[in-house]
Amino acid sequence: MSVLIDKATRVLVQGITGREGSFHAQRCREYGTQVVGGVTPGKGGTTHEGFPVWNTVADAVQAEGPNCALIFVPPVAAADAVMEATAAAIPFIVCVTEGIPTVDMMRAKAFLKDRSCRLIGPNCPGLISPGKAKVGIMPGHIHREGHVGLVSRSGTLTYEVVHQLTQRGIGQSTCVGIGGDPIIGTSFVDVLRLFQADPDTRLIVLIGEIGGTAEEEAAEHITRHITKPVVGFICGQTAPPGRRMGHAGAIIAGGKGTAAEKMAALGAAGVTLVKSPAEIGSTVARVLQR
């Protein structure tokens, strides 16, 4: 098993004729994901790299009934794309786009509320259930099927951790990048809940970073509800306060959101903390042997 996506996932790519959308739709298809086609307003009725293209999400839903939308629409229109997918009753949306205005995302999130729809991202690499489906931009070949569930706010740091795991022969059930923006659709807590319920996930790796309080909320949830072992790492231990470190959400503001606070909270929740990013794989191996 895996969480959120598997072989039955049918993906619609919004922004499929753009450079990134086009490239990654093909990589996802090569990985074995069912990509039913894409949406680009004004290009409906054409095909692109073998994918059918529709004008609207509603048209695509009528034709193919996708159950997942993967969004590569540029920042100016990405929040709108999220709302379009939501309105067309697509139950699962992954938004890769980086650089969406915060207010636009707040509006989109308010739009999502009270609808039975889950959003992952934005500003995220997407997710992968190795051997089953890849809905995102991560390099598929570094993954391996297995039983470690990984959740992270980062992209390439997640690849690094996956690489360390795979090198040791430790496979993954699902790897979820929840995104580096201050406003995101799915939190650490949401994914932890899914991993706890997934019989195929035996250990959870949580990769956090400075800024906000998502890790502290995760720690509280772990204390109360997670019985599986959790290995945690927080990046930005050396980040200066008041400076945005690449991700829009990675900033220590008013002395809050430091790596030290987050590590203390996770440590108190019984999470096995890793200080060095080079030792995440070996730590997971050690915990699995217990």
Binding site: E20, P75, V76, G99, I100, P101, T102, V103, D104, M105, M106, R107, K109, A110, I137, M138, P139, I142, S152, R153, S154, G155, T156, L157, T158, Y159, E160, H163, G180, P182, I183, I207, E209, G212, T213, A214, E217, C235, G236, Q237, T238, A239, P240, G242, R243, R244, M245, G246, H247, A248, G249, A250, G254, G255, K256, K275, S276, P277, A278, E279
Partner: protein, 388 residues
């Protein structure tokens, strides 16, 4: 993005928030002329993108135009050092000359993002003039918060609650309600990330005035805020960071001597962390992004190696979209073109890694390669130490 106080006040005025009369001056004689025009006691305030100006000598009172000119002369050109500036301080190039307001009360009002609730929060407190984080720590009951969705807006009852929390009554309460609504409107219309009035003052003659103002903006929304972009003051940014921003690179200068070049923000932070854990100090944060071009890589390399503190360079790339051979090509080109003699440690993994490694090995340049992040950091730290 940050702007100066005088710019923030001009924007607030546009939205109907009362601010003291005043004008910006770049020379002592301009400051005198503004003081003359105002015809009252004035305050001369250094315009830099940092708080804590008063304690650092960046704010002075002047009773007449002569004093205003003298105060401006003292402040203009000084390097203002506050807890919020770099250690070397920021050079003051402009002052705001404002009529001095007789204050009877200092309050606090702000609008910002609540990340936990994914919505906006308006905060009001009677404890103005001190940092709100300090108030939140010492006396949290003195802060009232009202949450407002951008689509629905701030409701009149919420604005009333906030104005009551400020302790305002009668006409002042009405003024407080309007001011709060106007500040909220400004936040949304200008894509702010913070709109803070601290202090908001009640004057002895019964007016409500934004005595200080801080507006920060959402970088992601600048594409639709040309008037805000035009307010950018490049003198307030460090030259290397400014240079990097022109090439779409995320660069933050730090104090160490190991230059870092990484793809992805999380991996870039983790690389800084491992440099520190290996006994060194990172010289910078630098994220070249997921799909960096050879040109971006070349510029990234140029910028980080032109930091004079840098003694060794650590390149850590996990190639997904960014292929390792393209990275190698960019780095080789940069080193050759710039004539860089610094030792460079490269750790790369991912797509086309063998090809990339071969290109580096055959380049005949001063590269060491590493198999893992840990090894790379240790090598770079040792080289930086040797090169000191």
């Amino acid at each position: 993005m940050k702007i100066h106080e005088y710019q923030a006040k001009a924007i607030l005025r546009e939205f109907g928030v009362a601010v003291p009369n005043g004008e910006v001056a770049e020379t002592p004689s301009q400051a005198r002329a503004v003081a003359q025009k105002l015809g009252s006691r004035v305050v001369i305030k250094a315009q830099v993108h940092a708080g804590g100006r008063g304690k650092a000598g960046g704010i002075k009172l002047a009773a007449n135009p002569d004093e205003a000119e003298a105060a401006a002369r003292a402040i203009l050109g000084m390097r203002l050092k506050t807890p919020q500036t770099p250690p070397e301080g920021i050079e003051v190039r402009k002052v705001l000359v404002e009529e001095a307001s007789p204050i009877s009360q200092e309050l606090y009002l702000s609008v910002t993002l609540d990340r936990v609730r994914s919505t906006l929060v308006v905060m009001a407190s009677e404890a103005g003039g001190m940092e709100i984080e300090e108030v939140a720590r010492v006396s949290p009951h003195k802060i009232l918060r009202e949450w407002a969705d951008p689509a629905l807006g701030l409701q009149p009852f919420q604005a009333r609650n906030l104005a009551f929390a400020l302790g305002l009554t009668g006409d002042l309460h009405k003024a407080g309600v309007t001011l709060t609504q106007n500040l909220f409107r400004c936040y949304l219309a200008r894509d702010c990330s913070l709109a803070e009035i601290n202090p908001l003052v009640v004057t002895q003659d019964g007016r409500l005035l934004a005595l200080d103002a801080k507006l920060n903006f959402d970088d992601n929304a600048l594409f639709r805020q040309p008037a805000i972009v035009a307010m950018r003051d490049e003198h307030e940014e460090t030259p290397l960071e400014l240079d990097a921003s022109r090439y779409g690179l995320n660069y933050v200068k730090l104090d160490g001597n190991v230059g870092c070049m990484v793809n992805g923000a999380g991996l870039a932070m983790a690389t800084m962390d491992i440099v520190k854990l290996s006994g060194g100090e990172p010289a910078n944060f630098l994220d070249v992004g997921g799909g960096a071009s050879a040109e971006q890589i070349e510029n990234a390399f140029r910028i980080l190696s032109s930091d004079r503190n840098v003694r060794a360079v650590l390149i850590n790339v996990f190639g997904g979209i960014l292929r390792c051979d393209r990275l190698a090509e960019g780095v080789i080109a940069a080193v050759k073109k710039l004539g860089v003699t610094l030792p460079v440690v490269i750790r790369m993994e991912g797509t086309n890694v063998e090809l990339g490694r071969r290109m580096l090995a055959e380049s005949g340049l001063n590269f060491s390669s590493a198999e893992s992040m840990g090894e790379a950091a240790e090598k770079a730290v040792a080289l930086a130490r040797a090169g000191r």
